[in-house]
């Protein structure tokens, strides 16, 4: 038991892990915000484009969503960090993780928003347009508010997954919680820092999981 909860090792690991919490939260919040915003913008563009000249844009958005939902975030991360420099693009570990997580969440978020938008009854569009609202106003005031209610539960789940995936950034030397714990573990050859890190992750994300469950009851899917 002592080997897993060695107080001396834990005390030595805590300052690093404590600073890692800030990095983890910073990376999680920024990539969740960017991913959700990206998904919302793309789904909005896809919903509002009309007419032949712009139609391929909708196809491109759908293709982006498919490709990045098929891409493991870890693979995308190592490509951005280790391969992109050969193309002249040098990203810090944090930036590479931010971009990778944001792109992957953006793809899921786009599909979730799109599904919400298309599940709003066509009669809602027609009622709004029949009163002389522009397509943009009809979308913003009538369709999107209804779509968002449907997207909140699945979006919350994807956001939590993205938050947890910040641990992947440890492989590109971002000093977040897991990375800090692993470096102390390597120095001390003790598993205790890893267990501390696991506890920290649960403490960070359990409230979000709970909030997600509450949102699901608040905004039930029809």
């Amino acid at each position: 038991m002592r080997i897993f909860f060695d107080p001396e090792v834990l005390a030595a690991a805590w300052p690093g892990i404590r600073s890692g919490i800030d990095v983890t939260l910073g990376l999680a919040l920024s990539s969740i915000a960017a991913g959700v915003a990206l998904g919302l913008v793309l789904a909005t563009v896809r919903a509002l484009i009309r007419g032949a000249p712009l139609r391929p844009v909708g196809g491109l958005i759908a293709a982006y969503a498919d490709v990045f939902r098929a891409m493991p975030p870890l693979v995308l991360l190592v490509v951005l960090y280790f391969a992109a420099p050969f193309a002249g693009v040098e990203l810090s570990g944090f930036m590479a993780a931010f971009v990778a997580l944001g792109l992957v969440l953006g793809a899921s978020a786009e599909e979730i928003f799109w599904a919400g938008i298309t599940s709003v009854n066509r009669g809602q569009w027609e009622a709004a347009l029949s009163t002389g609202l522009s397509r943009g106003e009809a979308f913003r005031r009538v369709v999107l508010p209804q779509a968002v209610r449907l997207t909140i539960p699945p979006l919350t789940n994807r956001a939590i997954a993205t938050g947890k995936n910040t641990a992947l950034a440890s492989v590109v030397a971002v000093p977040e919680v897991l990375n800090q714990a692993a470096s102390v573990q390597a120095q001390t050859a003790s598993p205790a820092p890893l267990l501390l890190a696991a506890g920290v992750y649960v403490a960070l994300f359990l409230p979000l999981v709970r909030a997600g469950r509450w949102l699901e009851t608040r905004f039930p899917t029809r």
């Binding site: 009669g123 027609e126 009622a127 709004a128 029949s130 009163t131 002389g132 106003e137 508010p145 209610r149």
Partner: protein, 242 residues
């Protein structure tokens, strides 16, 4: 009588099936025209071609003397003055009755929030729902929801209302409340084009009735003529089955 709305040779084909063929129909100022006919005869398509929710592929729709524009702000401006009421109400479920009726005055007609709410409140009072302004759609009966939908159109002070089977989705005991509102609008001189299965209502309230079958207007005239002395076999059969 000058017409508010006139369809000149309007046609529409869906996947090679003609839904409307060479429709000629005019609605005069403060005139109520009833559209009757079997399900699938094209009544809804005809109404939807008026404000281009469905794009006609032949002929012309003329509103207040000008062709209805194909799109953009000009079409939106015509749609504001051509209220539409749907069979399924299509109220915005996330907005209360007042917000439903105030949205377009605020966001399409450009009134201030206060002016838009005043217009919405007046419209709700006119349909007898001045005391339910804060009710959400799912707290209202079907008849009340449809009256909110009528108020939503009225709040824009339209020149004509297009009503697509406004009572067909209602329980029988709620039909009367909606028809009473429509009658009172007629007394106030609102022009209306109504697709309906309520033949008794059409007889009593309509100035003219058009009978539609397979996308064509087979007969059009005063209710007494159409309902009591039908000329075509199709109309005779239709009336005998009611």
């Amino acid at each position: 009588m000058s017409s508010v709305l006139e369809l000149r040779g309007v046609g529409k084909t869906f996947a090679r099936v003609p839904a409307l063929r060479d429709i000629h129909l005019a609605v005069g100022t403060s005139e109520l025209v009833g559209l009757i006919g079997p399900s699938g005869s094209g009544k809804s398509t005809l109404l939807r071609c008026c404000n281009r929710l469905t794009e006609p592929d032949a002929g012309e729709v003329v509103f207040e003397g000008n062709p209805v524009p194909a799109g953009g702000a000009e079409l939106a401006s015509v749609r504001r003055r051509m209220g539409m009421v749907f069979q399924a109400f299509n109220l915005y479920p996330h907005l209360n009755a007042l917000q439903n009726a105030a949205l377009a005055p605020r966001r399409a007609a450009g009134l201030s929030q206060g002016e838009a709410e005043t217009a919405a409140r007046e419209a709700l009072e006119r349909v007898g729902l001045g005391d339910r302004t804060t009710a959400m759609p799912d707290e209202l009966s079907g008849g009340q929801q449809q009256r909110v939908a009528i108020a939503r159109a009225l709040a824009l002070r339209p020149r004509i209302l297009l009503l697509d089977e406004p009572t067909s989705a209602l329980d029988p005991e709620l039909v009367g409340s909606v028809l009473r509102v429509i009658r009172s609008l007629k007394e106030d001189g609102v022009a209306m084009l109504i697709a309906t299965h309520e033949i008794a209502f059409a007889r009593e309230a309509a100035d003219r009735i058009a009978f539609l079958a397979d996308g064509e207007i087979l007969e059009c005239g005063p209710p007494g003529e159409i309902l009591d002395r039908p000329k075509s076999g199709r109309l005779q059969t239709f009336l005998s089955r009611l």
